[in-house]
């Protein structure tokens, strides 16, 4: 491990901009260098560097004891992560696609999420992987899995939308003593517009803190992940065409949910629109709306509305998937409706 870090993982050190994917890689890499109890497991993460190449170069640098190519056994290696965590290791497991987290659902929800409460100790595990639609992946390579875990007490859930956040949240997630589900949107991985120069220092983005993406006085738009970027487009349009000022809050962490940030903004705007790529029923919008009802009803000047994917599996054909997913136009329509309410 005396060898120099691979060149492609030193972009930040060289002052070069990185993509969201590279930011995730740097975050993982730096944590593994910092703390040798951190190790990786997943399918094709070693020799191949992961289906999306997030861990390219890691096997050569850290060796096979810390970068483990597993059989296709999500339930098995996630359970093994729990055991390793009991013994003081800090596993980061990759789901090749987050859709395939389902075989690990049992051990995640029944074992890992309950461990601390049962007196079996903390579970410093990160389960990470690619999520999201728009890539014509069909029903099994496109899902967002946050709400499958949102309902189980014990998890933290992270879903970054920028390179800066991705790296800082990854570091925070690895250092956190609770199990963290970490979702990385495939469409953001290599998006050229998301390239940014990151600070060449050991920064973390704390879990549970939302970020105000842009300020506005007429409407609070709460969102996360890839929808942050569609929301920004819609907000620009609403500003230019309708003179509506949209404040965008990027949740970044879905659990714990930064209620304060939303309430504070709502008190200034009186209107809330929630936008998520996940499907409608049981989506996070419902939870946010009821919390705002509980805490800030008096400040609402309009109903809380949501723009989401439709309640169906993710369809394969482009025309169907485009209809399934929330689009910029939907956000504009909803924003207009609320502003005029």
């Amino acid at each position: 491990m005396n060898q120099p870090a691979p060149e492609h993982l030193k972009k930040t050190a060289r002052g070069e901009p990185v993509t969201l994917l590279e930011a995730v890689s740097e975050g993982l890499f730096e944590e593994m260098v910092r703390d040798d109890s951190v190790f990786l497991m997943g399918e094709d993460i070693g020799v191949y560097g992961g289906a999306f190449k997030v861990t390219r170069g890691f096997l050569d640098y850290f060796g096979g004891l810390r970068v483990i190519d597993t059989p296709i056994a999500e339930g098995g290696f996630t359970g093994a992560a729990a055991g390793a965590a009991h013994m003081g290791l800090r596993p980061v497991v990759e789901m090749q696609f987050m859709d395939f987290i389902s075989p690990a659902y049992d051990v995640l929800t029944n074992y890992i999420a309950t461990s601390l409460y049962r007196g079996a100790g903390p579970m410093p595990i990160v389960v990470r992987g690619p999520v999201g639609g728009g890539n014509r992946g069909g029903p099994f390579h496109s899902q967002n899995v946050e709400m499958a875990f949102f309902h189980t007490p014990g998890f933290k859930i992270v879903y970054p939308s920028t390179a800066y956040d991705a790296k800082g949240l990854m570091k925070a997630a690895i250092r956190d003593d609770n199990p963290v589900i970490f979702e990385e949107h495939k469409a953001l991985y290599r998006a050229p517009t998301l390239r940014e120069v990151l600070p060449d220092e050991d920064y973390v983005v704390p879990l549970g803190k939302a970020r105000t993406v842009r300020e506005g006085s007429d409407l609070t738009l709460v969102t996360y992940g890839a929808m942050v970027h569609k929301s920004i487009e819609a907000a620009k349009k609403l500003e230019q065409e309708d003179g509506v000022g949209v404040e965008i809050i990027d949740l970044r962490t879905l659990l714990p949910l930064d209620e304060d940030a939303i309430v504070e903004s709502l008190k200034r705007t009186g209107r809330v629109l929630i936008v998520h790529e996940d499907t409608r029923t049981g989506g996070i919008a419902g939870e946010i709306a009821i919390r705002l009802n509980e805490r800030a009803f008096e400040w609402l000047d309009a109903p809380i509305l949501r723009v989401t994917a439709i309640d169906s599996p993710v369809p394969y054909a482009g025309s169907l998937e485009d209809y399934f997913l929330p689009q910029v136009e939907d956000i504009v329509t909803a924003g207009r409706y609320l502003a005029a309410y």
């Binding site: 059989p71 056994a73 395939f100 069909g138 309640d311 394969y316 054909a317 025309s319 169907l320 136009e329």
Partner: protein, 354 residues
């Protein structure tokens, strides 16, 4: 009935097998062209070098189109079995191109489609699941006293999933007439099979479940046909679940995007030399089962057929986006986004929702 040349197969049947091999290859090559031209919606998968495993296995089953025959759950590497079960070539192209005219009307991809009349049950992506499902299908055959079997194809590393083990054990203890085809192509994406299992042959796993098994050269279509014929006979005779391991090699990347740079070129070259189509051709000519001119005609026919139906499918429409709301439930329609209808408070059923 005409004369059996080998293993009870006459010349027409042997040429049918040959056609199946070349058709699979031609279809996938055509698919590759379509992808290069930008017509394919998602990812494509090749089965080059594995065609004999698919064809030989399906050929040994009782294929019907009236809902009375055997069942097949293929993988993307067993498209040839799907065609033999009556899966339409044109549907293969429609599925990959997300056409409205395909069996899933653009909602699902590639060989993931279902036709119960023909005994076809397309898989889902999560590996291992179809073994569980086929255990139930074949349980129904047993319960009803039908002489039918169900065949599931699984990649070699699908055997690492919990679903595979639970499904296989269930099938074994229930003595379900299920035939598990293990596609031992030596790779799971970039990870070598020897890194995913401690056994040298999957038949060792079969022994662990107390089921019958055979390991066979998956590049030899006749060997596959004969092994599966024996397995099917045992399954139909009430001897329960059977495994047939197909030993061969994944000669191209996991999918089209995978340059396969982790593969030893010499090892690969060795398997290219054992091409199942070349091998069968040589055998046919050596045994004098047919002349090269006949084989040539079959190859040309397969290529033309693929070209024709690919053109047809390419010209067909993609679905109307609004169809996305249909088919989630049997009796209700998923709501359209309110931003595309009349607004959040509309009480009368909106036009789009009907």
């Amino acid at each position: 009935m005409s004369d059996s040349l080998i293993a009870g197969l006459d010349q027409t049947q042997l040429l049918g097998l040959y056609h199946s091999l070349v058709l699979t290859r031609a279809a996938e090559e055509r698919l590759e062209m379509l992808q290069k031209q930008g017509h394919v919606t998602g990812e494509i998968y090749r089965s080059i070098g594995q065609e004999a495993g698919a064809a030989g296995a399906a050929f040994a089953l009782n294929r019907q189109t009236d809902g009375t025959g055997d069942f097949l759950a293929p993988t993307v590497r067993a498209a040839g079995a799907l065609f033999l079960f009556g899966g339409e070539l044109v549907d293969f192209f429609r599925q990959y191109m997300g056409r409205a005219t395909g069996p899933t009307e653009g909602k699902e991809a590639n060989i993931h489609w279902v036709d119960f009349q023909k005994g076809i049950i397309g898989p889902v992506s999560p590996l291992g699941t179809m073994l569980e499902v086929m255990a139930g299908i074949t349980l129904s055959f047993k319960v009803r006293g039908e002489s039918r079997v169900g065949m599931v194809f699984c990649g070699d590393d699908a055997s690492s999933t919990g679903a595979w083990h639970e499904g296989l054990n269930f099938s074994a203890v229930q003595r379900c007439p299920l035939i598990l085809m293990v596609e031992a192509n030596q790779w799971a994406f970039s990870t070598a099979t020897r890194k995913n299992t401690r056994v040298r042959s999957f038949t060792e796993k079969a022994a662990g479940y107390g089921i019958g098994s055979e390991s066979v050269d998956g590049t030899d279509v006749m060997a596959v046909y004969e092994a599966v014929s024996r397995a099917a006979k045992r399954a139909r005779a009430g001897k329960g679940t059977q495994m047939v391991e197909l030993r061969y090699y994944r000669r191209l990347g996991y999918a089209q995007h995978d340059p396969q740079d982790y593969v030893d070129p010499d090892e690969l070259a060795m398997w290219v030399d054992r091409d199942p189509i070349d091998l069968f051709e040589r055998r046919i000519l050596e045994e004098g089962w047919a002349a090269e001119s006949v084989l040539h005609k079959i190859r040309i026919r397969a290529e033309e057929e693929c070209k024709l139906v690919a053109e047809q499918a390419t010209g067909e429409p993609v679905p109307d986006g609004r169809e996305a709301v249909k088919g989630v439930y049997t009796d209700t329609i998923t709501q359209h986004p309110w931003t595309r209808t009349d607004g959040p408070y509309r009480r009368d059923g909106s036009e789009l929702n009907t």
